[in-house]
Symmetry: C2
Subunit: 472 residues, 2 copies
């Protein structure tokens, strides 16, 4: 199955072959996380936890269910989610007096409680997060990790005394985004969404977008500035140093299991997964190459290497199944283990270990006496190379558009790109661009890029570029 | 508030003061996990994960929602849960064709998938677990961590080729129970439940029971042997070595956030929580005792100690708030930090650090040059002492009952105990005992205890003892 020529089928095939999730669960869009897939996800979660803890966010856990009465307090928000939430109407043999929503996101669960937790400026900033599952009744075609009805994600929520402090939070969030993306070797654009595409209830939204192998764009996360749009209806106020009562300014930041969907899509190849070392359940797999009469010697040597690697905190699998080496290579290539070590008679004679990199297929030998530092250095280089390769693809996919006639009309056109072009910023030109070309404006760069040109619709001079693409 | 005289109010007071959970969430029985409470729970989860991984269980994550059609396949099971599940009937603006149950436990979510995963005897044993929240529409009075409608728990599910292998699994589970209980310093009885009290659908159930300060008993977990009671309706079969198709034998094991409820109840005192070191967010708190003109010196010394402890992987809080030491003691006693270190001018002069144990109030000094080994030894001794003290209370609460007239009739009677007595084992005597005395038979010891006496009801000679108590 070819990733570039037939991405959609390739993706489903890899998810199944690498045993990441099982889509045969009897509810569409709700899959079973299998052990290997779940392990990768928990490594992603662990890193997110580390980053959020290090920036003084506290982990909490809010209830899954939200009373309809709380859910409906912020008008734009409920309008945005009305058609995609699950409703609990009965419990046991009773019909509930107040219907309950299964969380599609937790603003409306958290903010009534924030209004109790926050009293004075000394309680600010409040910075919390949770890692939970969220539920959206998707009507579009579902796809593992990318478009699900039960979604594993994290959401951080913060409250600040001033808009300026909230703004600083957005910048801290974007630093975390960059760091996570770097560790997962995922390229991204940070784009301020158009006003008609921002999160329901937000003042503004920054989308974190990445280009998939089919040149469509996937949002892998978002950061929102709410100003006081939620604190007003939910009455989240603090007393400032002068005794005045003011509404808090709020932000949120979230990323989901789509991170895994992107890791699969961006790094995988026709042999299977290719995992960034940080989140690989095994960073290294050791395959013994038995000859005649040396099984005991080779076995012992591989066990010794495995122990040495584990002592150095390198996650290692020794595959001593009774099977041909080639068949083992095949299995671990599907699973995307970053580095394979092979050990045969000749390696032992030469006091080396043979290695093969998953990311570029490079094969070489490591001196047995400097195993640990060399492996660590190769793993670091794998992360670097995976980043370089992924960013090259991402950047190559972005096309500087001078005229809309360069956009292919056929959605399946293999020449489809991500388009960068001048935009005066007015909604009329934006809507016209989207409608005429059946393509979505993703937004304008959050960190301004130098641009000097004309609005692609009205021709007015502009210093603002916009990005547009078909989306997953 | 006194724990022993007024346990119920003391408990709610501590949960609030130690900031473990917030019960003001607008759905009864669904509370907000606050940062400190959630941190303790994640430490409990982490240890459970470690034990289950070490016994070759794989972590997975199954969907929250279960179609009514799957849910109803095992008749006793649905009967047991009929009156306590939440029903999702609508999604977006649509009424669902098949109603969905929010998991009250995951047998009916997992077993249709197990029937796809298991083909041959080589796929067995299958041992998986997940750590998720489960939902039961409790009609009894709710209580934080002890009786909730959204319950944080783990459930492990296993499939085996023979009943004997399933039986071995039960014994492995009970070893894990003992280990976890030991680390949390929780005493327990392992009791095989009566036939009329076993888990819906089980062949037999072992309850893990502990005695609370009010002498009522709380089930903190359970282990179930299902035989083929679920594999038959869910058609989970394997092909044995002779090509014959057979049903798998299944077991499950689960424990919940009640573990935290018991830790609070069993170890707490009138000053607040007392946490076993394994799950304390901070094992050690350092309080600087400033004198005149030595603030800088003391500050620097406490920072140095904190760094030294953290290098040794001892979770440490340095409380350098601008406040009186006594007020800091008070705060950290409420939060149950196992060991407090104080550092003042005299300590520095004598090259020692003063320590105060939370569990028994013991105060002493540690030589600054052997800080790490001495602190590790004190923390280990705290775990030992907490176990001893808790087991003494537990054992003292068990009363060898010779005649039912020794059972106080009034539920609030402070002389209420856990009763051990002879039982012939027949359901008639069992029901009569329960009905006449308004008390529940918890079961018979899973690991047989030597007993020689008469059935307390019919007087027949018996070698079996039973336990009975009022339950939380």
């Amino acid at each position: 199955m070819s990733r570039l020529n037939n991405y959609n089928e390739w993706y489903l095939d890899i998810v199944e072959k690498a045993q990441l999730s099982d889509k045969r669960y009897p509810i569409k869009g709700m899959n079973v996380w299998m052990p290997y897939g779940w392990k990768i996800m928990t490594f992603i979660d662990r890193y997110i936890r580390e980053k959020l803890d290090a920036t003084n966010h506290c982990e909490v856990s809010f209830p899954l269910l939200i009373p309809e009465t709380e859910f409906k307090k912020e008008k734009d928000h409920i309008k945005g989610f009305d058609s995609e939430v699950y409703w609990v109407t009965h419990a046991g043999l009773d019909e509930l007096d107040v219907k309950l929503v299964i969380r599609p996101t937790s603003e409306t669960a958290m903010y009534p409680i924030f209004s109790l937790w926050i009293r004075s400026h000394q309680d600010l900033p409040l910075k919390i997060y949770q890692i939970v599952n969220t539920f959206r009744y998707e009507t579009k075609q579902t796809r593992p990790f990318i478009r699900m009805r039960e979604i594993h994600f994290f959401e951080s929520h913060t409250c600040h005394d001033t808009e300026k402090d909230a703004q600083k939070q957005i910048e801290e969030d974007l630093e975390i985004v960059k760091d996570i993306a770097n560790k997962l070797c995922i390229p991204y654009c940070l784009l301020k969404r158009t006003d008609w595409d921002k999160f329901p209830g937000a003042y503004y939204t920054v989308g974190i977008d990445t280009v998939m192998p089919n040149h469509k764009v996937l949002q892998i996360g978002s950061v929102h500035h709410y100003r006081t749009n939620f604190s007003e209806p939910y009455n989240i106020m603090y007393e400032d140093e002068n005794g005045e009562h003011k509404y808090v300014h709020q932000t949120t930041y979230g990323m989901s299991e789509r991170l895994l969907g992107v890791v699969i899509s961006v790094h995988g190849d026709d042999k299977g997964l290719c995992l960034p070392p940080l989140i690989a359940p095994f960073e290294v797999v050791i395959i013994p190459i038995f000859g005649k009469n040396n099984k005991k010697e080779i076995s012992e040597a591989t066990v010794k290497i495995k122990n040495e690697l584990e002592m150095a905190n390198i996650r290692t699998k020794l595959d001593n199944r009774n099977d041909r080496p080639g068949s083992k290579y095949y299995d671990w290539e599907i699973k995307g283990v970053p580095l394979r070590l092979e050990l045969g008679a000749r390696d032992i004679d030469n006091n080396v270990v043979t290695f093969v990199r998953r990311d570029n297929g490079e094969r070489g030998t490591i001196n047995a006496s400097s195993l640990i530092p060399e492996i660590k250095s190769i793993l670091a280089d794998i992360t670097r190379s995976m980043n370089d390769k992924a960013w090259k693809f991402h950047n190559d996919a972005i096309f500087d558009l001078k005229t809309t006639s360069d956009i292919p009309k056929d959605e399946e056109d293999s020449k489809l790109m991500v388009y960068r072009f001048g935009w005066c910023g007015c909604p009329e030109c934006g809507h016209k661009f989207e409608d005429d070309n059946n393509i979505k404006i993703l937004g304008t760069p959050y960190f301004s890029e130098s641009y000097d040109g004309e609005c692609i619709i009205c021709g007015k001079k502009t210093k603002t570029s916009a990005y547009a693409a078909r989306t997953m």
